[in-house]
Symmetry: C2
Subunit: 709 residues, 2 copies
């Protein structure tokens, strides 16, 4: 009956739509600086309906006031043959960012993307692990299209005959300036759905728009402290004793280790999965987890969602699954609450109650040919296309809820995400392995409310190994994924010391990193950020190419350089990773003075500098007045109740402050106010006192180190 009614609504809507219907969008300010409008009749399953976040209202109120950022009458919507056609204005010099987790490009203006959940295939075409239909503009606003569909975005490529800002007409025969990409003054979007909700996020800055997006989606996730330590994923068939031995090896090498990733072999069958412990490799799961926890090590279990006929879950979810199998496993329709509950019961009983701290949820993205096809059907009536776009998101939401019920934070990995995921406890990764492109993905993750790790697996050389280890230690998850290669952090003895040093540096920086994640949560600022989101950004992209080459460039296309190989970790640290083979690199320093992290020496300001790439160090720069709170070297993240000495490094000459955040590190009590925020002030070398009764894990006596002499 319900379906009948929805069908009727859809019919009426289609009826209205055929022949194409224009309608002025009605914008309503639903949160401070966030407006919503609806075109047609939105679908029941959308990205935000699945993520189902609660806006962080009080945080949103802290942001500067924003006015509606565009001319309302320049935003148009039409419904044509049951699809929504949208148009948003663009001005000259405006740049757009986001539109999925891209690996090669940062600026999206001039590109066409069909946002389609898939394993990244080497080309920025919209197919990615996080095809988030959200973009932010350099003019300080963001646009979100909330549909779980393959949305096509023409980001300043399409030119309308009736545009008020036509590109200049040029004759390619005679005019050297002829441009194969004529100026377009619009973003046009095709949403293949009967209707859609559209959100506009105000600024005034681009960062403000990103903050509003993240806060609207609940604020960024604050990982447990252990989640920010080092993690090693072990070879796939490691038994429980192999893993305990691995933990001891890390101890022996005095190498940081906070959690271990347990790969497919823990399942009694995997590909498809049973989600049940294999009795030969894991005869005593409870004892195994306990032994790990005694060493202060958490366990994260790998899975993909496809249920094996050998699993006890199979008969329970069979009728709640889709028409097609993936690797012989059935595909549970998690849009049905009953299906989620069956999983919940199984997972809590068999894993979480034993102390399992999280999951790596693999292969919910693609590859295309291994997933269910778009002709699959699901018992809820959710289409295969919608299911594709939301599956990873739904898994994140559902597992997050289980851990919230335990009042335990989790922090895991997922290969598929989408809009609305800011407050979900997962980091994206993939099988693609270009180091430079991994860094570009890290840059791009900051625009779309997701986290990304440039995981390390293997390397062709010691140089590559240390370079990859350096950058992963300056990412949301410091991970070595040895599932297939069996690598260890010390696999290349010639760089063992340098690897150890950078992992230790990450551990020492935990107060800074944790406070940065708190900022993600409370202010919506992404912890790892594109330079385009930074105050003082004034980089001028260079156009290169444009030379005719019948084979390589028949259209004389120019390439605009993106700033894609450096990023900010929090407010103060600029990270400029070096890739194997590089002896030096250029670094763009925004306005304001910047200082070398290691020496405190002035590096430059508002300029592009060239630095020599010492093998042992990842280049880091600190902004003038930047304070960096650090703790002594340690192998594991602080536990609740620990009280640690704090060293605060001070860079530059301008007075600075830093908001140091702390809480118990593992529970959600911080959401109810059980946290401390203190202010570090360099001028008088003071730390304010934490409010009484709040968890605060640092000595009151702080060591101040003024790095810049």
């Amino acid at each position: 009956m319900k379906i009948m009614f929805r069908s009727f609504v859809l019919l009426v809507c289609l009826c209205l739509s055929i022949g194409s219907v224009h309608a002025q969008l009605q914008w309503k300010e639903i949160e401070p600086g966030i407006w919503k409008a609806t075109a047609g009749v939105p679908e029941k399953i959308t990205l935000l309906s699945v993520a189902n976040a609660t806006p962080a209202k009080s945080s949103l109120q802290q942001l500067p006031t924003a006015k509606f950022p565009l001319e309302k009458n320049e935003i148009t919507s039409r419904i044509v043959d049951g699809k929504v056609y949208l148009k948003f204005p663009l001005v000259k010099e405006e740049e757009l960012f986001g539109l999925g987790l891209n690996f090669k490009t940062v600026s999206q203006r001039g590109r066409v993307s069909q946002l389609h959940m898939d394993h990244y295939g080497g080309k920025d075409d919209g197919r990615s692990h996080a095809p988030v239909p959200f973009y932010v503009s350099s003019r300080g606003y963001g646009v979100l299209i909330d549909a779980a569909r393959y949305i096509t975005v023409y980001a300043g490529t399409a030119v309308r005959v009736d545009t008020k800002n036509p590109p200049e007409l040029m004759d390619r025969n005679t005019n050297k300036n002829w441009d194969s990409s004529p100026y377009s003054d619009a973003v046009e979007i095709l949403v293949p759905a009967s209707g859609v909700d559209i959100y506009i996020f105000g600024g005034p800055t681009t960062m403000n728009a990103v903050q509003r997006y993240n806060l609207f989606n609940g604020g960024g996730y604050l990982p447990p402290k252990w989640g920010l330590g080092f993690t090693q994923r072990v070879p796939t068939l490691y038994s429980q004793s192999d893993i305990l031995r691995e933990a001891s090896e890390f101890e022996a090498h005095n190498f940081p280790l906070d959690f271990i990733g347990v790969e497919p072999g823990w399942h009694s069958m995997s590909y498809p999965c049973t989600f049940e412990w294999d009795p030969t490799r894991f005869p005593d799961p409870k004892g195994f987890i306990s032994s790990l926890l005694q060493k202060g090590i958490r366990a994260n279990l790998w899975l993909n969602p496809y249920v094996s006929p050998k699993s006890s879950l199979y008969p329970k979810v069979k009728a709640l699954s889709g028409s097609h199998t993936v690797w012989n496993g059935i595909v549970t329709d998690f849009t049905i609450p009953e299906a989620r509950n069956i999983f919940k019961e199984h997972f809590i009983k068999n894993h979480i109650s034993l102390g399992v701290s999280g999951y790596k949820m693999d292969e919910n993205d693609g590859y295309d040919k291994w997933l269910w096809p778009d002709v699959a059907t699901f018992p809820s009536g959710t289409s295969a296309e919608q299911m594709r776009q939301i599956y990873g998101l739904q898994m994140q939401k559902m597992t997050d809820e289980w851990y919230r019920e335990q009042n335990q934070r989790t922090y895991g990995l997922v290969r598929a995400s989408n809009a609305g995921a800011s407050n979900l406890p997962y980091v994206i990764y993939n099988d693609y392995y270009s180091h430079p492109d991994f860094i570009t993905a890290l840059v791009n993750s900051s625009f779309i409310g997701v986290l990304w790790t440039p995981e390390v697996r293997a390397s062709k050389s010691a140089e590559e190994w240390v370079r990859r280890m350096q950058s992963v230690c300056f990412s949301p998850m410091a991970m070595l994924n040895a599932w297939a290669d069996g690598t260890k952090p010390w696999s290349f003895p010639e760089v063992e010391k340098a690897v150890q040093e950078v992992a230790t540096l990450r551990m020492r920086l935990l107060p800074y990193i944790y406070s940065t994640f708190a900022q993600y949560h409370f202010e919506g600022k992404p912890p790892f950020r594109s330079m385009n989101l930074v105050d003082g950004f004034a980089y001028t992209p260079q156009e290169t190419g444009g030379k005719l080459d019948a084979t390589l460039n028949p259209y004389e296309a120019k390439t605009r350089s993106d700033l894609k190989d450096q990023y900010m970790m929090g407010d103060n640290i600029l990270v400029a990773p070096v890739f194997a083979g590089e002896k030096s690199r250029k670094v763009y320093l925004p306005a304001g003075k910047w200082y070398d992290f290691y020496t405190g020496k002035l590096a430059g300001e508002n300029e592009v500098i060239t630095i020599q790439a010492e093998l042992e160090k990842i280049p880091l720069f600190v902004r003038d007045g930047g304070l960096i709170p650090m703790i002594p070297a340690r192998r594991q993240a602080p536990k609740a109740g620990d009280v640690l000495p704090l060293e605060v490094r001070v860079y530059g000459t301008t007075p600075g402050t830093f908001t140091l955040y702390d809480d118990d590190g593992t529970t959600f009590n911080f959401e109810k106010g059980a946290y401390a925020k203190v202010t570090l002030t360099s001028t008088n070398k003071t730390m304010s006192a934490p409010a009484s009764g709040k968890p605060f894990g640092y000595d009151k006596k702080v060591t101040w180190t003024f790095m810049t002499k």
Copy 2:
């Protein structure tokens, strides 16, 4: 009103469809061995409605009888939310071919393609210059989905929970044979349209299915004889005197030349185009064309379809154009007859009546970001998506009609084609320039009723130059495209002789090649053919790879080798091109003895041989009993009335015959019976007499050369 009615029908259909409707397809034999069924309510604009071919009924009747090739109840159709879901059965070991013009793969089983008109982007994913929704099976049948939509085909990738032929369940943890691509027993297809006509083409052989497809679409196009000679495309800004000088240079080098491609500079403005002669570079178009024709040389004019505001056509077609511009030109809605007529009048008056012999119709395919977006609208109501799929096809059809009205065959180039194009006078080309992949495209063109040229533009070395020239001379169009590079056939002096030799060999083979195209027309057999279409084909694909590599092959995927670097030209000649850098190559010889074309020596049978790659020769093999009719070396294709001496080369020992075809070479009179077919018989060295009064351009006295001693 008409639109209102169509909308009503669509609504009723959608009404019926919502909630998913199954219906047994009703198959009707519409031509011998060709069955049609309809799911839902097909759209007005489809691929076949645009190509609008007349089936070659009498030729179809010559084919062996075919029974319906599949179990009817194993073909299912559902209409879900206004889209058509189709399923066709597959059996083990069955291979599928076609599904667009692929450049890297031949066998399509195990692949997902979204058939989308676009410039080929380096990946076989369905985006190509000819996204033909047609496949043929190694079991001897073909399936055509007639919708001008982005159709997604899961060619043996999707596995249904309820399949009767489930793949074997394996545990990847423990089973070395675990396969990331489990067995699928179905082709599943998503057609995003309210309905669709489906055609099944019977065998019994795969070649028979291809023949039926081509004959249903009017039979293959028979080019004018001059179209099979050599063609040079000149640099873009060449004036009429430059071009006449170029023609003289070819004379001076005694190099074949039948037609010249005149590039963008002939337009008074191009990108967007005026379709009007530039008065400075072409002050006397009529005189220019006449001068060329006096030298026996035809002119082919480059264009893309986007109309410049500077063109006299602009005001006439403005109201008949789409909502968006491409390179500042308007996009004429050629689905409107009036629009086609405006172009016709202009083109006949300004080009064709002057003696212009054809067109190169560029950039009607993509790239994506330069074309109109999918949110464009067109005055006829044809959607942007449909327009994208048909635009090149419509241009081919329309120009073909103009020439037919003149009773003059044309032969040109197009960058976008689709289903139904077999009888259209165009060869596809593109900007992509991998020599091996160009050959794979040539192989694949044979499955889908299109022609492809591996055009030569430039090369890094003399070796590459001669290798490319050799293979283009064994393709549907022997072309050097020097628009950007200004290359000449003799650009690499060290291989000038070898290039001259292969071009001359093509000219000498014209009786064979022309008869081969006649076979395309009368029998539907593609002139350049995949080995998979050849009698005696028994190649066993090798599976390679499958080794775990965390980065390069995390799913242990195996790769099946395709036979993609050799092909047949007609019934008798096997072409095995060599690529630069190769010193030797493997050649697969089907069952039956095969002989070296140049020496007549036995090369092998039903085996893979390794041959040395002499730089001066393209490896060619002739089947046992194969007859190859040849004429003396000449610079231009024979003209009507020429009577030429014929040499027939005979290979092997088995008695053989050859059907030699001839006609006037330029008109459509052959369609009314004005042609000769004579039989050459090796055993008694005879040529049958042509029927009286038929055009026949060969001496009755034939020289017989028995190549195999």
